[in-house]
């Protein structure tokens, strides 16, 4: 068993090719995607030009036609995150195409997986996911969206916010409580297909500080009727069995993506740093020697900080790759990386001066984009709570 701080030469080459492609083909659309709050219309065509195979579903060992590396598939996934997002962030969301289908793969029966997961992974469709509600974010116990059994159907009422890709998705997987007395313990996941009556797009895409091209939808569920078979994980003829809490905790597999979120932040900060270094080097003649050495020291310090980020990210990912429990390490990576990545971009803008925040450069976009990475998939605070619980458990023996 080996710990990879650096990828194998093969995987490094893979990442490099992805980076170069991302700079050449993804980055040129970054400003427009930000302004339009959507990706370029031909984004699928753009993705076709990618010189290496990349995965849509980032869970372990799914896409079997992907290149193999000695580092293991999960390390390849991390390299994909780093390579793809180096050009800009907009593509990530459309490459992964949401996580509705990933939830199907986690909670669905084999038949449900065949029906809703496989076609998406093969065909490149987009799927939505709805968990958060206006009154329930980090703390899901406040969910109030309700599903009621009515003969051969479930009738769902409520609303969801922060639903990735729900407006353009083929279907949305939404959580709802089936027994108000049991509350969150009775939560079940339902596949709600596009066009289902009662599935209302309240706001197609929120007006956001950053990651504007990523679709963040508000949906309403108004007497939304779905067949029994759309409840994930059960024989369609059976009723809810109250194992919904378990269902929600099965979602914790999604938390394993946390080191990749930190990797995303780190690679964007690295892009900002590389760009800033280039610009400053071009301007170098204007610097007095002592000023230049200050600048150089700043650039070195930031590069080292991003290396630190990567160490934690890769360590956490490596553990999972080797089937070691990495819950704590994944949370640490997620708490550690994103806020430092933000700071790197901010500092780069400062070193450049006022034009560092101009829309002629992408730094200001990246600064806006990155802020959410310390929030979604669990805030830095939530990550610390997770780690602290583990500390307490160990301390209490």
């Amino acid at each position: 068993m080996t710990l990879a701080f650096e990828f194998s030469p093969e995987l490094q080459r893979y990442e490099r090719e992805l980076k170069e492609w991302s700079v050449a083909r993804i980055r040129p659309h970054a400003r427009q995607a930000d302004t339009d709050h959507r990706p370029p219309a031909n984004y699928r065509e753009i993705f076709e030009t990618c010189p290496v195979k990349i995965s849509k579903h980032v869970a372990k060992g799914r896409d079997n036609d992907l290149p193999k590396f000695p580092d293991g598939e999960l390390m390849r996934v991390m390299a994909q995150y780093e390579g793809l997002n180096y050009g800009d962030t907009w593509a990530q969301s459309y490459v992964s195409g949401g996580i509705g289908h990933v939830v199907v793969s986690l909670l669905g029966t084999p038949e449900q997986i065949d029906r809703w997961y496989e076609p998406v992974v093969r065909g490149g469709g987009v799927t939505g996911f709805g968990l958060s509600e206006p009154g329930a974010g980090s703390d899901t116990s406040g969910l109030v969206t309700r599903a009621v059994r009515d003969g051969d159907s479930w009738v769902i009422n409520g609303s969801k916010i922060f639903c990735s890709h729900a407006a353009s998705a083929e279907y949305v997987v939404a959580f709802a409580v089936t027994d108000p007395e049991k509350g969150i313990a009775s939560a079940e996941a339902f596949v709600i297909e596009r066009g289902t009556p009662g599935l209302v797009i309240l706001k197609e895409n929120e007006d956001k500080l950053g990651l504007r091209a990523w679709e963040t939808t508000q949906i309403g569920l108004e007497d939304c009727v779905v067949p029994l078979g759309n409840r994930l994980g059960h024989d369609p003829s059976a009723g809810a069995n109250g194992a919904g809490g378990a269902r929600l905790s099965a979602l914790s597999v999604l938390n394993q993506n946390r080191p990749n979120v930190s990797a995303l932040s780190t690679t964007v900060a690295q892009a900002a740093l590389d760009l800033t270094g280039e610009l400053l080097h071009e301007q170098r003649l204007g610097f007095r020697a002592d000023r230049w050495s200050l600048i150089q020291r700043e650039l070195e310090g930031m590069a080292a900080a991003l290396t630190r980020n990567r160490h934690l990210n890769r360590y956490a990912q490596w553990m999972r790759q080797h089937d070691l429990q990495n819950r704590v390490e994944a949370s640490m990576a997620k708490a550690f990386g994103p806020p430092t990545s933000e700071r790197v971009v901010r500092r780069c803008m400062q070193l450049l001066g006022p034009e560092g925040t101009s829309t002629e450069l992408l730094l200001e976009k990246w600064y806006r984009d990155l802020k959410i990475l310390d929030i979604f998939e669990g805030t830095g605070q939530i990550q610390r709570v997770i780690v602290a619980k583990d500390f307490a458990k160990k301390a209490r023996g």
Partner: protein
Amino acid sequence: MFVLSSSTEDQLIAETARRLALGPVDQAAREVDRTGVIAEGLWRRLRDFGFTAPVAEHLGGTPNAVTQLRAVENLAYGDPGIVGTAVLAGGSTLIIDAAGTGEQRNRWLAGVADGARPAPAPALYERHGLPPEEYGTTITAEGDGWRVRGTKYAVALLDGVTELLVVGVDPRGGLRAAVVGLDREGVDTKRVSGTSHIALSAARLSRVHLDVLVAADDLLGGVDADARSLAFAVARTRLLAPAVALGGANRAREYATKYATERIAFGRPIFDFQGISFTLVDDQMRLDAARLGLLSVANGLDQGREKALADVGRIVNETHAAATEATRNAIQVLGGHGFLTDHPTELWYRAAALLSTLDADPYFASFAPAV
């Protein structure tokens, strides 16, 4: 003994500023950000208030640095984008008042206080956080005139303006300023139309290349100008952007606190979690330290102390560090909601970032990772 007067008049000014802030300034914030335009009515109210672009005593009155700082901070509590724009656009009046001759004050400031005409646009900032004494812009005698050569950044609101006040260094390293007509040959402004920066869209910041000959009487204070007065006036002007950042950041801290006392998660207001409340307390401590530092330097400038000149760079950087961090933490406290334009936190985050790039001298702070 250092005296920060809490005179009735000062108190009144601060309160008036706060009222303006929470009234028209706050109300206009989102719209100004979106359109990149500050409506004339709001401009008039800011001008009438008089602290963002103060003018010579006989033309309306320039307050002392401490009073102005407090007024600007309180005003920026309403919206750092609008007030930052006003401060960036208005900075030349103070400098002309302090370092110009009587004739120049009349020539360049008459009619400014009542809005009849704009003052020359101040062209101060350069890149990489260079302090004034290291500006790359030079003002050098050439024949009968003086050549102004260099590039200035973050020059605000050139529309309708006919002149620039350019600050540079002369060959002996002393500060010099000159007023340059924008239509002169050798003045090349570059501006990206519309919202061209992360924030302060209404400021329509430009980059200006200068390589132009001006007459001796366009030199601020004339050929024998007192470089010291100019240095003090420029120093005062540099304190205004951090005062704006401070006002916005303090608002963000308070807004996030209010949100946290109302938002329930895990059975209680999230403010009850020290992970939230301690972060906000630390932010406030840094902001308070920055405010005291700014006031202390402003007071030193008012007293004409050389040491205060040397202290400007550090306090500017400290204040921006505190403000960028506090606005970032305000979003963090609001979680996903803070990332939406439904809340003003993201406006404040952007404004703090832009303001921090004006004058970020890396000598005074090194990059430090967040953890």
